[in-house]
Structures are given as structure tokens and as C-alpha cells.
Symmetry: C3
Subunit: 406 residues, 3 copies
């Protein structure tokens, strides 16, 4: 009786809080018809909905089908993985709309929501899904909901520190989503260490179809990652650029993953777990820099490296973490999200520090890094420093937060 009660009471709480705080943003409100005149907009196309809705739906698929099905490779947890992922994500997006709203869209006592808020809520929940990957099979649904509550809260605080206080760029969330989510989950799983946890993966017989379902998750994540990294970038060239960079990085990552996977196996056979996971590292690793002028070959290099790091991690690091550090990383999120997330943060810091007006153009330079208002005097190298500080903050928040929640 505890689980239903928690679900119902929390949902009632959501309704009350939404009733008090959440209203439609100007572009979703019926008043927009009049506001258009004031803003001299001649076309309905200028509504942010049309800039972001297709990307939003792709991200939505990544969170619910992508992450849900990817975790199915554990035969025993197939349905549980999808079902619990569904539950925590459905609760998480509501709580994220509130938490992120208070920090970012709060005006005159109301949270004004639009399609960008929906994307950000999905992003926030994505970080919870990542952490869920580390503790899969260890927790009850109630524990998951509690973890979601706290992780979403900490996510929003961390995001506020990075984006608003440090004025860091992180549209694809290498730091805010992946680094934070993964180290949070790893800390929690360390604390929940169970010496005799059944090694379901090895004990199960045929997992052939489970692997195919997991491959559906992988492919949807892989295909839609360009939408993930470009979903909340600036309108126009920034979204365009973010999609191209991510596309290139992911393509390169597949080749190095396949190469190292068969190199590190005894008989040269491909390990399905690597294909299902490490091929995605390229998307994580350009999360911060995709909207910058990373250039296509820069993206290929990042993808090349992250594919190697991630695959090597699966072969050598995951067993090491489990036997020595007692970190049972069920889905290997340390290899798919934590390390590539750190790479992504570092690449972002370097790319920002290396930016010049020559490469970006005078106006493009200011627009890309929002060097306006109180940040008018910030230089690329200082921005690079703040980006690096963002990595450290995300790491600390994840470790401390994970320890407390765990």
C-alpha cells in the first residue's frame, strides 16, 4: 500500500504546486495573438514551437524508448527496466518543470512554460535515467521515486550554478546531464553496494531477443542524438551546427568502438554490450561543444577518442570498479556517460577558449557565447576557465548529492 499512496499523494502535490505556480508562457498563451502585433511578428512561424517541437519529440523518444529499451539487455529486468523508467520519467518531468521553472522561467510569481521547458524537463529526467542505469536491479520503485525527487532538485541547482552564475554554455548537457547524472548514480550505487548481487547478465541463458530490443534503444539514441544536442541551442545557425557536429562525432565513434571491441576480445568477436553502448559516447562527448565552431573534423576527432575510451572502459575499468572500489555499475554508465561527459566538458572548455572573432564573425561571436550585458567584457580564455569550473562544480554536486541521497 505504500507505493500507490506515494504515487497518489505526490501527484496531488504536483497538481497543487502547478495550480499555484505554472501558467502558459507568452507563446503558448491565447494572448499571443495580440502580442504578435506588439512584437511586430508577421508570421505564426516565429512561435518557438516551430523552432523546437521536432527536436522535442526526438528527445522525448530518446528518454522513453531510448533509455528504456537500452536497459533491456538484462533479460530479467526487461519489462521492469521499461516500466520503472516510464514511472520515474513521468514523475520526474513534472517535478523538473517546477524546479527548473523556479530557477529559469519565474516571472511575477508564476512559472511560464513553453516547449523549451518541456525539452529541459526531459533533459533533467534523462540525467535520472542515466543514474538509474547504475542501480538497475537494486532498488524498489519507491526508492527510485525518492531518488528522482532529490536528483531532479540537485540537477536544477547545479544547472542554475552553471548556466546562470558561471554563465557556462552546455546546450547538450555534457556536464549538467551526463557528468552530473553518471557520477550521482555511481555514488548511489557505491553506497548501496551488495556483495552478493546476482550477476544476472552472466547467469541468464539466451538473451538474443533482449539484445535486439536493447539495440532498438541504442539506435534511437544514436539517430536522435543530433536533436538532443541541438534542441535548446540558439535559433538558426547554432542549431544547424550542433546537429552536424553531433552527426559527425557519432559516425566516427561507431568505427573506433567496433575496432577496439573486436581487438580487445579474445577471438576478435564483437561484444554486443560495446555496440549497444560505446557507439553513443560520441554524442555525449560533443554535448557542450556541438553548438560551437568545433568543425566537422574536430567532431570526428572527439568521436574517435570517446569511442576508444568508452570501449576500453567496458573491458578494463568496469570490472576494476566493481572488484576494487565496490561500484557495481549495472549498465556501465561510467563508460557511456561519466568519462565521455568529462571529455565533453573539457572539449567544450578548450573550444570556448580557442574562439576568435575571426572564426565566429563579430556578431556571431557575441551571439554564440552571449557576451552581452554584464558578460560584455568576458574573453574566450576566461570563458574557457569558467567552463572548466563548471565541470568541477558538476562533479562535486554529483558526489556530495549522491552520497547524501544514497
Amino acid at each position: 500500500w505504500r507505493r500507490p499512496l506515494v504515487c497518489l499523494l505526490w501527484e496531488v502535490a504536483m497538481i497543487v504546486l502547478f495550480g499555484v505556480f505554472v501558467r502558459f508562457g507568452p507563446e503558448a498563451d491565447a494572448h499571443w495573438e495580440e502580442e504578435k502585433h506588439d512584437m511586430n511578428l508577421t508570421s505564426d512561424m516565429e512561435n518557438d514551437f516551430y523552432f523546437r517541437y521536432p527536436s522535442f519529440q526526438d528527445v522525448h523518444v530518446m528518454i522513453f524508448v531510448g533509455f528504456g529499451f537500452l536497459m533491456m539487455f538484462l533479460k530479467r529486468y526487461g519489462f521492469g527496466a521499461v516500466g520503472f523508467n516510464f514511472l520515474l520519467a513521468a514523475f520526474g518531468i513534472q517535478w523538473a518543470l517546477l524546479m527548473q521553472g523556479w530557477f529559469h522561467s519565474f516571472k511575477n510569481g508564476k512559472i511560464l512554460v513553453g516547449v523549451e521547458n518541456l525539452i529541459n524537463a526531459d533533459f533533467c529526467v534523462g540525467s535520472v535515467c542515466i543514474a538509474f542505469g547504475a542501480i538497475l536491479g537494486k532498488t524498489s520503485p519507491i526508492q527510485l521515486l525518492v531518488m528522482t525527487l532529490f536528483q531532479v532538485t540537485l540537477f536544477a541547482v547545479n544547472e542554475y550554478i552553471l548556466l546562470n552564475l558561471l554563465h557556462v554554455k552546455d546546450a547538450g548537457g555534457s556536464m549538467t546531464i551526463h557528468t552530473f547524472g553518471a557520477y550521482f548514480g555511481l555514488t548511489v550505487t557505491r553506497i548501496l553496494y551488495r556483495p552478493n548481487l546476482e550477476q544476472s547478465k552472466d547467469k541468464q541463458g539466451s538473451v538474443y531477443h533482449s539484445d535486439l530490443f536493447a539495440m532498438i534503444g541504442t539506435l534511437y539514441l544514436w539517430m536522435y542524438w543530433p536533436s538532443f544536442n541541438s534542441a535548446i541551442s540558439d535559433h538558426g545557425d547554432a542549431q544547424h551546427r550542433a546537429a552536424i557536429n553531433t552527426y559527425c562525432s557519432l559516425a566516427a565513434c561507431v568505427l573506433t568502438t567496433m575496432a577496439f571491441s573486436s581487438m580487445l576480445q579474445k577471438k576478435g568477436k564483437l561484444d554486443m554490450v560495446h555496440i549497444q553502448n560505446a557507439t553513443l559516447a560520441g554524442g555525449v562527448a560533443v554535448g557542450t561543444s556541438a553548438e560551437m565552431m568545433l568543425t566537422p573534423y574536430g567532431s570526428l576527432i572527439v568521436g574517435f577518442i570517446s569511442g576508444i575510451v568508452s570501449t576500453v572502459g567496458y573491458v578494463y575499468l568496469t570490472p576494476f570498479l566493481e572488484s576494487r572500489l565496490h561500484i557495481q555499475d549495472t549498465c556501465g554508465i561510467h563508460n557511456l556517460h561519466a568519462m565521455p561527459g568529462l571529455i565533453g566538458g573539457i572539449v567544450g572548455a578548450i573550444t570556448a577558449a580557442a574562439a576568435t572573432e575571426d572564426v565566429y564573425g563579430k556578431e556571431g561571436f557575441i551571439k554564440a557565447f552571449d557576451f552581452t550585458g554584464m558578460y560584455q567584457t568576458r574573453t574566450p580564455s576566461i570563458q574557457g576557465g569558467f567552463q572548466a569550473a563548471g565541470i568541477v562544480v558538476s562533479l562535486l554536486m554529483a558526489l556530495v548529492g549522491g552520497a547524501l541521497v544514497g
Copy 2:
């Protein structure tokens, strides 16, 4: 030999009727290049294609993958469900283009089609897929095609009465698609009652993978439902609003479904059928009101209630309908579409009746309800009355039509 013959002859009939009646609408015709000048359009972006095509593709996925795979939970009918769904939908969209075209896009003896017609044809077929869910396993493909022919016809008539004569708003089709489709199907299955129908669901052994396939259907319906409810709303804020309302309602619905599902089971275990179906009731129940100023918390409340109603329906009402009323509702469409559809109609009527110029803004108010021309003098409370009348008309059409076709 009968089945192939019907398929071929009907397709020939379609070609003849399309040849006589169907032409490209102005925005899909090559003359648009010149028309743009006349209409003072400066950008190709103003083409309706760019406002609606992404939503169209999402709806398309819902009809063919969503409904098709959702019905797979019956192991024995797995392939049949997808295959027959494919056949009836492919025929249905052609016939719907004609029927809806005669009623809504008929100019100078020609039906002028554009992307909005494609969405409407998909919607109409969606209503057939719903009815198919009630009679799954009872009919031959030929019978299905005949049912499709008649149901699409009646759908178009009902839609014409609601949208044109009663001037009712129903962009997400709570009344026209769900209420009509579900009660139509339920009436047909009542008439086709077979006392000894094999209870495939219970007799089968492991349906594990069938359940996972069904979950694919569920998730795609759940994720893309915001596109469903916003696909044919007015450009701009209305589409934006419809997507947000649906997103919120669906999120709330997942929590109450999970809560009641484990509350009503003996051991507190979740019933997969509930998760696969009742989680979607929130989308159905905001079909009419999503494009109105329902507000996010209003959507949460609707989702909250419809999740409960739908789950309780699966546990108590479906067995009752079968044993007492001899209505064999194979997929439980009474719980997923009929009752939430009625809720949706009622919520729509109330939301419309409660509309004020204050909430919508002067222009937004007129635009949201099309209070122009001969409807200039209609007040919100009268509109609410007509909305309520729309529910009754849809119900009657479904019951009478279903009885005749059955």
C-alpha cells in the same frame, strides 16, 4: 479468391474516384509559386507543410506502429494484429481522403488535398483502429474492410455534423475519434458476440516478448500524443498550448495508473495491461480541450482522473461488460477510449463554457473558438452547450451506426 478480388476492385474504385475528384490543394500545387505573389507571402515557410508535417509523421507512427503494436499483447494475434491493422489503415486513409474531402475540402467539383487532409485521414483511420481493438480475433479481413468502409463514412458524417453544423471544437478528437470509434466498435462486438470465444490471453503460456512489443506501441502512442492533439489546431499558440496540455495530462495519468494498478491487484503487482493501456487515457481525455486555455494544472487534474477511471474500468468494468452485457472487449477499448473520450468531451464543454475574454485576450478569444461570421454572437456558455450536444450526437451515431454495420 474473394479477399484478393475485394482488395483489387476497391483499389480500382479508389483510383477512379481519385481521378474524378482529387487534386492538389493550392499549397501543394505548382501554381503556388505564383499564388505566393498574390498572397504577399515572402517565405516558403508559410506553406502549411512546415506547420504540420512533423506532427503528421508522428500521427502516422501512432496509427501504424502505435495501434498495431499495442494490440500485440495477445500472443496469438501478434502478426495478424499488425498485418490487418496495416491493411485496413491503408485502405481507410484513401477512403477517408475522399469522404472527408467531399465534406470539408470540396471546391468547384474537386477535392483539394494538402497535409491537413492527410492528418485528418489518419485520424479517421485511428477511429477504425480503435474499433478494431474491440473485435480483434473475431473477424475476417474482408469483414474488417467492410467495417472500415462504413465506419469511415459514418465518421465523416459525424465529423461534419459536429464541426460544421454544431460548430464544435474537437482538434484532438475526444468525441469524433475516441467516443465515436469506441462505442461503434463496442456495438459491433456486442452483435458479433460469441459465447465460446477462446480466451487467448489466459490460455497462452509466456507472452513476455509479446508484452515488450506491445510496450513499443504504448510508448509511441504516449510520446507522440502531444502531436496528435496539436496536429490540426490553429497555427501558433494553439498548437503550442495543445502540446503542453497533453504532455502534462499524460504525465499525471502514468502515476495514477501505476497507483491504482498495484492497489487493485492482490499482491500489489503491476498489471502490464494497465500500464500498456490506461497510461494513455490522459491523452484521450484532453483531446477536445487541449487547444483551449485548460492550463497545465487543469491538464494534470484531467490526467489524474482519467488514469483512475481507466484502470478501475479494466479491473471491474471489462469483466462485467463481458459477463452481463455480452460485450467482449478484446483490447479494453471501453476503458482506454470510450470513457476517457466521454471525459474529454465533457471537459471540453466545461472549458469552453468557462472561457472569458480576460483569459484569452480579445483577439485570442475570437480566434480560439472561431467566433466569426455567423458565429459572431455565440457566447462561451452557448458554445459549451453545443460541445455537450456534440458528445450526444457522437454517441448516437456510434450506437446506431455500429448496430447497422454489425
Copy 3:
């Protein structure tokens, strides 16, 4: 050790070539902010990203999920089909960006990429996936990569001849993608003829779930084909028209496929292979003409015919090809891509030859066929002749190229 080495070295080569040649196109470059002023663009919406990105993502799904899962109906090759498809596509898109870039987007020594290049790269790889369907189960991953390298190269040359030298229209790639890809693959499989190739399809026991996975592939190809054929059409009415034509053709194709499939089987049962494949022939067969004024009923006729041709091909032609001509066509691409591709080329030539200013409007006529500059004096009938020449060139390139590579 050979496979990893090839993957790594080729990826390094890609990085070097990208470093030398590939840069962001003007609409993805940060300079766009300034360029907008020069081009008098008032809205970020004018960025090509917003015209094409939703279609790009649909095409992306078709290549990786659609083609990958469609080939799963061979139980034994399930995971291999998806995995190898993933590897060759990830390499292929990089090489295609280069090859197509040199021919089409080369300016001042640099290849300038944007979203249209990504779509074209996916298209090019689609042609490789088609050829892969013929040789599935016969080749090692290395051989596949080598085939990809050469086929992409020849594809780009063929495309250059058709689009640039012959000034042929082929937005949906009936000739460049399907005819070329299929006959290329068939020639290769002819040369790799193995008399004792295990007939996996017949020897396997239950392939029930494999068939369901294959059906996922089929449905995604079927649903997104309108995006495939409209992805690189001209902005505005042409994209709109291409989507409608393809939608109609595919719907008609399903009915004739089902009809002929049950007519040609002994017991009138449907053959799953037909449903999985021949239902898609309608999309292939309007590839060239979809963006022209084919009209909806014209599309129905094309779909009607191609469904019949494709199904009959599966029943009679595939066994004949194998026993007499020693062409082992594992997935039946001769029926799904080769013949419908030829039909598509021919329909395109006829539609082009029949074009009149009356039907297209004066400006629409010029825009639809790009009758500007050095092509100002070309008439529809001459255009039809060039379209026909395009078919012949594609065929020759495929046969000669396939023979050399094989």
C-alpha cells in the same frame, strides 16, 4: 587483427580528409548572423535547417532502423544484419559527405556542409544498404567496408552525371538510389555466387519474433517514405506535393500486395515476406516523379502497378533468378528496389515529358524543372528524353561497377 586495423586507419583517413576539406556551410556557420543582414533575411526560420531537419531525422531512421530491421527476417542473421548495417552506414556517411561534397558543394577548395548534405549522405548509404540486402550472409565485415567504399564513390559519380550533366530530376532517387543500388548489389551477388549457400530462410524453425522485428523495419520505411521522397525537393509546394504523392502511392501498394500475395499462395494465406517488402514498392516507384505534378490518382496507379510487379517478382522471378541466372538475392531487392526503381525512372520520364505550363503555371514550370540559365530552352519532351537516359546510365554504372567491385 585486420578488421580493427581497417576501421581505425580508414577513420584516421576520414579525419585527415575532413580536416583538409570539410567546413560548415554558410547556414551552419557562426558568420550566418552577419550574412542574414546581407541577404535581407528577417527570420531565423529561413535557415535551411528548419525546412529539412524533420525530414532528415525520418530518413535517418529509415536507414538505420528501417533497413537494419527489415533484414532481420533471416533469423540467423538478425543481430548481424543490424550490426553490420550500422557499421557500413556509419562509415559510408562520412565517405559520402566527402565524395558528394567534391561533386556538389565544393567552393574555394572547401566542402561546405549543411543539413542537405547530411540527407544526401544518408541517401547514398541507403543505396549501399540496398546492395547489402542482396549479399547478406555472404560477406565478411571487411568486404562490406570495401564494397561501401567503392559503391559510395560510384554512386557519387553516377549522381553527378545524372543531376549535373544530364540535368535530370530525381529527388527521391528512383534511379540514383534504387536502380543503381539494386543492380549494383545483384551484380556483386552474381559474382559471389555460392552453389551451396545455406538456405537459412527455409531451414530455420520458428522465426515468429524475427518477423515481428522485420515488421518494425517495414513499418518505419513505409511511414517515413513520404519524408524520403520530399527531403531534398525544392522548398514549399514541391516538398508538400512529394509527400502527398508518396503517401497515396504507398497506400495503394499495400492493397495490391495483399491481394496478389494471397492470390498466388496455394491456400490463400498471406506471405509475410511480401507484406514486409512489396508494400514498400510504391514508395520506390514514385521516387523520381513525386515532386512533379503526378497528381494523387497518378500516384495511386503507380502504387497499384508496383505492388503487383513486386509481389509477382517474389513468387516467380526470385526463384528463377537463383536457379537459372545464379543470382542469389537474399532479401529480394530485385523485387523491392530494382524493378520498382526502373518503373520510377520511367514514370518520372513520362511525367516530365507530359509537363505543360498550363498544369504547372508559368513560374512553377520553370522552378519545378530548373529550366534556367543554360537549360532555359529545354522543353518537357527533351527533359523526358534526358530522364530516360538517366535510367540507362544508372543501369550501366551499376552493372559495370558491380562487376568490377564483385
